[in-house]
Amino acid sequence: MGVLRSYQLRLRRKRWRIRAYRKSRELRCVVNRAQGVHPNALLVFSTQRNEMVRLPYFLEYYRKMGVDHFFLVDNDSTDGSAQYLAAQPDVTLYATRGSYKRSRFGVDWLNYLQIKFGHGHWCLTVDPDEFFVYPFCDTRPLRALTDWLDASSIKSFSAMLLDMYPKGPINSVTYEAGENPISLANWFDSGNYTIKKNPLFGNLWIQGGPRARVFFPDKPAAAPALNKIPLVKWDKSYVYASSTHNLLPRGLNLVYDSWGGEKASGILLHTKFLSTFEEKAREELTRKQHYAGSLEYQAYADGLDKNPDLWCKWSEKYINWRQLEILGLMSKGNWA
């Protein structure tokens, strides 16, 4: 990486920071409970729209993990989820009617909130359908991980997106609020992921899984990216670049070892493929607010009409993080 390149990236980072401030004018504070947040608090940042049915379990899951406070952006919900969130004692809620797409899919809004509230904290940035799993998560709270990362001078922690799906058609079982979505969508693809390196940002670009297998077999290059770096010891100079796939400064993207070893990493269980999915997909097709002209949703909708079963003979049934570790999807690294 030459001097010119790194200067370009620096400018880009600055530009995104300015953009975050600019886009913050679209945000309106509904409830601010941030003054109660202590200096060591673990924070979750998320954007949501009409996720009422998912939110109860989402909040419960991360509270149990040891998250102290949630910073949420509500993007024009109509299902009462904003009121629900505003009533939660550990939620700071912002609302916006702004365009999801033009805030670079929520990244600008969250960058702003992270600059404002995240500085010096461990920040976990996840969608309401993403459930973070890390080594020893069944016996050690999230704080154990972040303390260990602090002690090891590690600033960012990767967790690949793992698409979960039910056996049989996606909409065959209805998901009810408060229910663990993993109990319905409990299958995944264990070994069909491809990795390339992004030469500019230094992050890995991972694709594959059931979405590539079923929805994108003929145009694999368009399959969604699965690499994510959701857990970061935030500094106000950082920005997420494209979703939580990569950040700047680029050193934060080096969450992998290049000399044969394994760094510690986790998984985001992605429970998009539930009974709620079809409706979402159809709505997004008319709103056209999602990535790459909603190409992804277009492909899903086509697939859904034909045969919405993602399950195959070689699907793995989810048990726990140790299973994911053995399968080589995540790693304990040198955390023992």
């Binding site: 990767s158 264990s190 590539a212 003979k313 999807l329």
Partner: protein
């Protein structure tokens, strides 16, 4: 007689208090050193909360930074206080705020009573140890280190470099042989007081003040002078990872720690409530006088280091993506690639699958689809047979297949009719690959096809070029694969013998017992076909020195070993 506990603490004072109370309840007086960085009001609150305990003292506070002298100064002052305040103390045990006793205090007291004049201090000369990270083993004693490694890294490195260039070497004080070892020791009053009251202490202190990480060498070196009986090991279980920072224990290590029979362990995560509860509230009595057995914990942590530094061979994932030639194995396990066999023999794939326990796929890199064993459309791990998906990243396809099937030998066919221009180098460079090639055998497909001759000629020329590239790669210096190449002519000299070589490589001993042989393809007219091809200007030289009169399958093999080829 009892044991005095010196505790160096800097944070999580509630835990420090809890541990200190535990020691005192077991009859051990405690001297606590709090880091200078702890805020004054926190110290005052701490002092207050402990005011009801008689046998706890707080010693003079020093600024303790890792690798610097402050830790030794703190230990010295605290030890002096211990020796002067508590005359009943015979052994002084150095511990930290993250050290938790695993066995009842009385067992430690008994153990030390049984070894009344033994000093437990890990102490070895620099040439004898390999644990020191950073390659400054000898130089920690011969250079000066006034700068902090943690906070002034650049100055630290520059100053080391500077001294090396000037050839500056400090003299070790006369009579001292530098020793290093774990910071956590347990010394007798005699030894400790001999160190602290040594008439030369001022000059020793002056020297060690500029030694790097003196807390791992000061007492370790001086104990060698004054001790009567040294056991060079620490009673504190403390493990370090590959970067030299201590491993941390959590609730899920409870059983492991219990079974270790160590007296004290560090570091315990301050929020590991279950561990604190288990060991401080209701310490379970192990067998009296049991010797510490940390080997299980050693294994756990050495596996962790191994995973971090070497990783799992053949695995590519989000946190392991090795640079070229650092893969430590391109794929996860051994596999076999057969080229040309299915052209030369009829129904070779099902035949081979009958002979071996390995999985026999078809052409995994065929143009239209990946021909998985059993004709499956998806395979282990969710690999799709879709050719576009596969060719999007064929290296990942191969790696994934071998990772997903680890433990089961895989076997597949290949030939220049496949999409092999990208993948064949990968196979050649992979030490796990076993390649068996019958060069030129693909021509049989043309021979049996119903194409126009001009098309055959063009296609054969193309395939010959591809196969030549592959064979050239197999002669390059980058070859790691095991391989054997026959021309088709060579192979036909003794087809069954050669087949045995392949089978023996797949499963040792299998070739010898071979009775059921595959049927050789009918080559009647092949000689004429080759001659025509040659006459039209396409020379199939990869066939080998092919007998142009070869218009019938060779009968000699049959006459020699009639049961072999039917």
């Amino acid at each position: 007689m009892t044991v005095g506990i010196v505790m160096l603490a800097h944070s999580d004072l509630d835990r420090v208090e809890q541990i200190a109370r535990h020691w005192v309840a077991g009859g051990c007086p405690v001297v606590i050193h709090l880091d200078k960085k702890v805020p004054k009001d926190a110290v005052a609150a701490f002092r207050d909360s402990l005011s009801d305990v008689a046998d706890i003292r707080l010693s003079k506070r020093h600024k303790c930074e890792w690798g610097m002298w402050g830790l030794v100064a703190a230990t010295q002052d605290a030890s002096e206080l211990m020796l002067s305040e508590f005359p009943q103390v015979r052994h002084v045990f150095l511990s930290s705020g993250a050290c938790v006793p695993l066995r009842p205090v009385q067992e430690l007291v008994d153990y030390l009573d049984a070894n009344p004049d033994t000093d437990f201090i890990e102490s070895a000369t620099t040439s004898e140890v390999s644990w020191a990270v950073d390659g400054l083993e000898k130089e920690r004693f011969t250079l000066r280190f006034p700068f902090s490694w943690r906070t002034q890294r650049r100055l630290f490195d520059r100053y080391v470099e500077f001294q090396r260039k000037l050839g500056i070497k400090r003299k070790v004080p006369a009579g001292l042989t530098p020793h290093i070892g774990s910071q956590w020791w347990c010394l007798t009053r005699q030894t400790l007081s001999a160190i602290l009251q040594d008439p030369l202490r001022a000059s020793y202190d002056r020297y060690f003040r500029r030694v790097w990480i003196p807390d791992e060498s000061y007492f370790q070196t001086l104990a060698r002078i004054s001790s009567r009986k040294i056991q060079s090991r620490s009673l504190t279980l403390s493990k370090f990872d590959f970067q030299g920072k201590p491993h941390i224990f959590y609730d899920d290590h409870l059983q492991l720690l219990r079974r270790s029979d160590c007296f004290v362990a560090r570091k315990i995560w301050p929020r590991a409530d279950r561990l604190f509860d288990a060991f401080l509230r209701t310490p379970e009595s192990a067998l009296k006088q049991a010797e510490p057995q940390p080997s299980k914990i050693d294994r756990l942590f050495s596996r962790a280091t191994d995973r971090r530094t070497r990783g799992r061979p053949g695995l590519s994932m989000q946190s392991r993506f090795p640079n070229e030639s650092w893969e430590n194995g391109l794929t996860a396990h051994a596999y076999t690639v057969l080229e040309g066999f299915d052209d030369l023999f009829e129904d070779f794939q099902p035949w081979l699958q009958r002979q071996v326990t390995s999985t026999v796929h078809g052409h995994l890199f065929a143009k239209d689809r990946a021909e998985f064993a059993g004709g499956e459309t998806t395979y282990r791990g969710g690999l799709s047979d879709n050719a576009v998906l596969r060719d999007y990243n064929p290296h990942a396809f191969l790696k994934n297949l071998m990772w997903n099937t680890r433990g089961q030998h895989q076997c597949f066919f290949m030939g220049p009719g496949d999409v092999m221009d990208d993948i064949h180098w990968e196979l050649v460079k992979d030490a796990n690959a076993n390649l068996f090639v019958i060069s030129g055998a693909w021509l049989i497909q043309h021979f049996r096809s119903n194409q126009n001759f001009a098309d055959i000629r063009a296609d054969a020329a193309l395939r010959q070029k591809l196969e030549r590239e592959h064979l050239t790669a197999l002669k390059s210096p980058f070859v790691k694969a095991t391989h054997k190449v026959w021309t088709m002519a060579e192979f036909l000299e003794a087809p069954v013998e050669n087949l045995r070589i392949v089978l023996d490589a797949l499963e040792p001993g299998l070739g010898q017992g071979l009775t059921d042989t595959p049927k050789l393809t009918d080559l009647t007219g092949f000689g004429t076909f080759v001659r025509t091809l040659k006459n039209q200007g396409m020379h199939p030289y990869l066939l080998g020195d092919f007998d142009e009169g070869y218009d019938q399958p060779r009968q000699n093999a049959e006459t020699r070993k009639p049961y072999l080829v039917r």
